[in-house]
């Protein structure tokens, strides 16, 4: 809950974070609705949109707090054709 509405024209930045170990999908809500995909090499990719750097650091802190080793963090260029993991935009528009 926050005191401001995020304006609809703000594009969420998509991130891909890779961690060591298979993190179950049921962690998704705890990680702000990001999707979790287990990879064959024993890692998990956490994918989704975050509104700003503070949200990113908040997510990294939550990962830190459960002790799961971080491997990599990548910003994914926004692809308008897919909405994979993107946050829903404000339907009222600006």
């Amino acid at each position: 809950m926050c005191a401001h509405q995020v304006p609809s024209y703000v594009a969420f930045v998509q991130y891909e974070i890779r961690v060591k170990g298979h993190l179950a999908a049921r962690w998704s809500t705890w990680f702000d609705g990001m999707t979790l995909t287990a990879d064959e090499d024993g890692t998990t990719v956490i994918r989704g949109g975050l509104v700003d750097q503070s949200a990113l650091h908040g997510l990294l802190e939550r990962l830190r707090d459960i002790g799961i080793p971080l491997i990599s963090l990548t910003e994914i260029p926004f692809d308008a054709s897919t909405n994979d993991g993107a946050k829903p935009q404000n339907p009222e528009g600006d």
Binding site: M1, Q5, G21, R26, R64, D65, G67
Partner: protein, 837 residues
């Protein structure tokens, strides 16, 4: 809650009890040499690696060990240091007493308070260890810089232990280089195979083969929390080997796997209990009952404690517990996934319990997760106490967590947020909040209000915030308009509002050249701030008032203003503005030609350091020092200081009536650099036919002195121009009561007419040879006393003659000595004759 204080939680000051089944790890203890404790021990590793246990093991002597278990609410400096002082006080009673009251709000420097604490510790004859557990929860930059200060000025008796999940922004590299840092990191904390065997087989009573221990070690990578969970699971497993097989072959994140194992083995009731109570930071029987709607909370907690299920007791009586952080996070995630609908209800039940038990802070925390309206009500009622305890950052955090529509309907809270933002140095969004409140108050429907006293103050407070915002935006007239409204709207006991309004009016009057009005307003503002105990604002206004009084030639008044400020600082060390008072006193003394005394005050100002000064102090200090150097004859140094001052100047809102560039030019011209004078004059846009203009008066006088210097180099026209300009400026300055400038104009006129023995007044008339006019004239009373001082009468006889007490006579005499710049009666008589009094 007690006025102005929020009580400390005793449980945060107790080191956690050691878990059952903890193995001794001498390997770690050996890293420490008892006779040579390091300045800083950093235990930095992810959650669940046994950091706290390591700290307990390394620093086991409770006699000399203070402990603070930090949490997010400790990000307020006042709160953080309260706990630190309390922790130190518990092992060394009295050590923090003087420091305790000095730690204040985020905008005030903690340095003097820290210095006091450091001195107290330095006086001890034995060592102290202070453990800060969960330091990663501290994010406030002020706290990090305070702790850095503590480390950099550490008394040898103090040994700091920082336990954290992330390396803190402290001077680690420097400490490491000096060999004063002991680091215990994740590689140190991972259980070796031997240690794992000791733990699993000896402490936990399992009978595992070496092979099994090795496989468990490999899979858990020595992660203590994982080993503990594995041990718990194994205790219930008949077939250890198959467990280890299944565990090793599984790809799941080990915490997920192991917690599932443990949870699956619990009864559904216990499992539900664990998940539901995971929302609590601290647990006790009755609270758990309220949240889970059961009645056996106390018994269950004891069972869980005995079963070693990640409960950490917080006190000796086993009344309060918390979950191990890692376990709690996993439980919370499970809860969110399995029963998201119930989470808000759980928080609501917790809120009700804390509210009923008088713990407002905890109640608010839970309310913010479940019932925004309840949170709003609690915050509104708690706000005065929180503000009184100077915890504006806390208040701001709460308010910013409320949904926008809740805030919109509660003007007291919206205004509180505006105030909290301004108090924490952030004007963002304040104008919008003010507008929102104004609209809301005009609507038909009454707003939601719980604190009616605060509600009544809203109009005055809004006007005050608007005035401050206008000032920040450089809109002086707008600021004045709002400031007048503040005074109209504020009640007689709204000291902050009245003071702020008066100060802003004082500032605008000054900018408009009305020194009379300005002085009255500032004096009124100071009185209001003193009445309301807003001491930093007193000092800020004192700087403006004192400067103005100097400009008017009222040196005794200026002296009083700065002296009063200095006394306030003496009683309340740590206030910003201490240095400014000394700089002000130095300026007055320089006006009186008391160079040695001025030098003393400047030295004190410098020693106090930047933290003790208001934002403009670095600039003011150098300007005063430049004048001092000039008086001592070191023109080069004086010029260097002015150049430094130039770089430091920050346009705040006081009118720039003595621009440093103009000061520089005067000095340069005196040192023979006429070109500097010429080029400055070209860009300054001044001409000899300019109308007098208070705001440019100093520059006009500078311009005149440049013209005179050019005249000295052969330009006769320049001298005539100077005379023309000076005549007009002198008249205007006299009329406006700007004594300092008037006297200088007169002196320059004298020079222009060719009176050679007058020095070029580089700054003001302070360094002129015996002046023929008194800058600070004697009052009627004082003239009366003076007349009798010339006679043969003794002090007591004079007092009788004038029908005053001896004390009054002495006061008058002191003032006369000051104004005449003399030290004894004989000199008084001589000087009076010189001045024709």
């Amino acid at each position: 809650m007690a006025k102005d204080t929020i009580p400390l939680l005793e449980t945060k000051l107790h080191a956690p009890r050691r878990h059952h089944g903890v193995v001794a790890r001498p390997r770690l203890a050996q890293r420490l040499h008892a006779s040579d404790l390091p300045a800083l021990t950093l235990i930095s590793a992810p959650a669940g690696f046994g950091k706290t246990t390591a700290a307990l093991e390394l620093f086991g002597d409770e006699q000399r060990r203070g402990w603070v278990s930090l949490d997010r609410r400790d990000n307020e400096p006042a709160v953080f240091w309260s706990y630190v002082v309390a922790a130190l006080d518990s092992i060394e009673p009295g050590v923090g007493d003087s420091a305790r009251s000095l730690f204040r709000s985020p905008l005030q420097s903690s340095d003097p308070a820290l210095a006091t604490l450091i001195n107290d510790i330095d006086a001890l004859d034995h060592d102290l260890v202070l453990v800060l557990d969960d330091y990663h929860l501290i994010e406030a930059p002020e706290i990090h810089s305070d702790v850095t200060f503590l480390l950099e000025h550490r008394p040898p008796q103090l040994h700091l232990v920082v336990v954290t999940r992330s390396d803190p922004p402290l001077p680690l590299a420097a400490l490491r280089a000096r060999g004063e840092l002991l680091e215990i990191r994740v590689s140190d904390l991972r259980f070796t195979v031997e240690e794992s065997a000791a733990y699993l087989n000896d402490a936990m009573g399992l009978a595992l083969t070496t092979g099994d221990v090795e496989r468990l070690g490999a899979r858990t990578e020595g992660w203590a929390a994982a080993l503990q969970l594995a041990a718990l699971s194994l205790q219930g497993h008949a077939d250890a080997a198959s467990f280890v097989d299944g565990f090793s072959g599984d790809d799941r994140f080990i915490l997920d796997y192991l917690v599932d194992e443990v949870l699956d083995r619990q009864t559904p009731e216990v499992r539900a209990f664990l998940l539901e109570t995971s929302i609590l930071e601290r647990l006790t029987g009755p609270l758990c009952d309220a949240v889970t709607l059961r009645s056996d909370g106390k018994a269950l907690l004891e069972t869980l404690d005995r079963a070693n299920l990640f409960l950490v007791p917080l006190d000796d009586r086993r009344e309060w517990y918390r979950y191990h952080h890692l376990f709690a996070d996993v439980l919370r995630a499970r809860l969110l996934d399995e029963r998201p609908d119930v989470v808000a209800d759980l928080h609501r039940r917790a809120l009700a319990w804390f509210d009923a038990n008088g713990d407002v802070v905890e109640a608010i925390t839970h309310a913010l997760e479940s019932d925004a309206e309840a949170a709003a009500r609690l915050i509104e009622l708690a706000a005065p106490t929180v503000r009184g305890a100077r915890q504006d950052a806390t208040l701001r955090g709460w308010l910013e967590a409320l949904p926008g529509d809740v805030l919109a309907d509660r003007p007291v809270l919206a205004v509180a947020l505006a105030g909290a933002r301004m108090a924490t140095g952030d004007a963002a969004g304040v104008a919008q909040l003010a507008t929102m409140v104004e609209h809301r108050l005009q609507a038909d429907e009454p707003p939601v209000v719980f604190d009616h006293e605060a509600f009544a103050r809203i109009p005055a407070q809004l006007a005050m915030h608007r005035a401050a915002l206008a000032l920040l935006g450089g809109e002086l007239d707008e600021s004045m308009r709002h400031a007048r409204r503040v005074l109209d709207l504020a009640g007689p006991s709204d000291h902050l509002e009245r003071g702020a309004g008066s100060a802003l009016l004082g500032l605008s009057a000054w900018a408009n050249g009305d020194l009379e009005e300005s002085e009255l307003r500032y004096a009124a503002a100071i009185d209001c701030f003193i009445a309301g105990d807003f001491l930093p604002d007193v000092l800020g206004c004192s700087v403006a008032l004192g400067d103005m009084q100097i400009a008017k030639g009222r040196l005794a008044d200026a002296m009083n203003t700065f002296e009063r400020g200095r006394l306030i600082v003496e009683e309340h060390p740590g206030l910003r503005g201490a240095a400014d008072m000394h700089v002000g006193l130095a300026e007055v003394l320089l006006e009186r030609n008391r160079v040695a005394d001025a030098e003393k005050h400047l030295r004190v100002a410098r020693d106090l350091g930047e933290a003790a000064g208001l934002p403009q102090n670095p600039y003011r200090l150098r300007v005063a020092d430049a004048r001092l150097q000039r008086a001592l004859g070191d023109l080069q140094r004086s010029l260097e200081l002015l150049e430094e001052a130039e770089r430091l100047y920050n346009t705040d809102f006081s009118p720039s009536v003595r621009p440093v560039t103009a000061m520089k030019v005067r000095l340069q011209v005196e040192m023979g650099d006429l070109e500097a004078g010429r080029s400055w004059a070209a860009v300054a846009g001044l001409s000899a036919d300019d109308e007098p203009n208070y705001l440019r008066e100093f520059e006009q006088l500078t311009f005149a002195s440049v013209l005179i210097a050019l005249g000295g180099a052969g330009d006769a026209e320049a001298v005539n121009d100077a005379i023309r300009l000076l005549t007009r400026v002198h008249a205007a300055a006299e009329l406006g009561g700007r004594q300092a400038n008037a006297v200088e104009a007169l002196a320059l006129l004298g020079r222009a007419h060719g009176q050679p023995e007058q020095q070029i007044p580089t700054f003001t008339k302070a360094d002129l040879a015996p002046s023929t006019t008194l800058v600070d004239p004697l009052s009627q009373r004082e003239l009366g006393v003076l007349r009798l001082l010339k006679s043969e009468l003794s002090g007591p006889e004079i007092a009788r003659e004038l029908h005053v007490s001896l004390n009054t006579f002495r006061t008058h005499t002191k003032n006369i000595y000051m104004k005449l710049g003399v030290n004894n009666r004989r000199e008084v008589v001589r000087r009076a004759a010189e001045l024709g009094l």
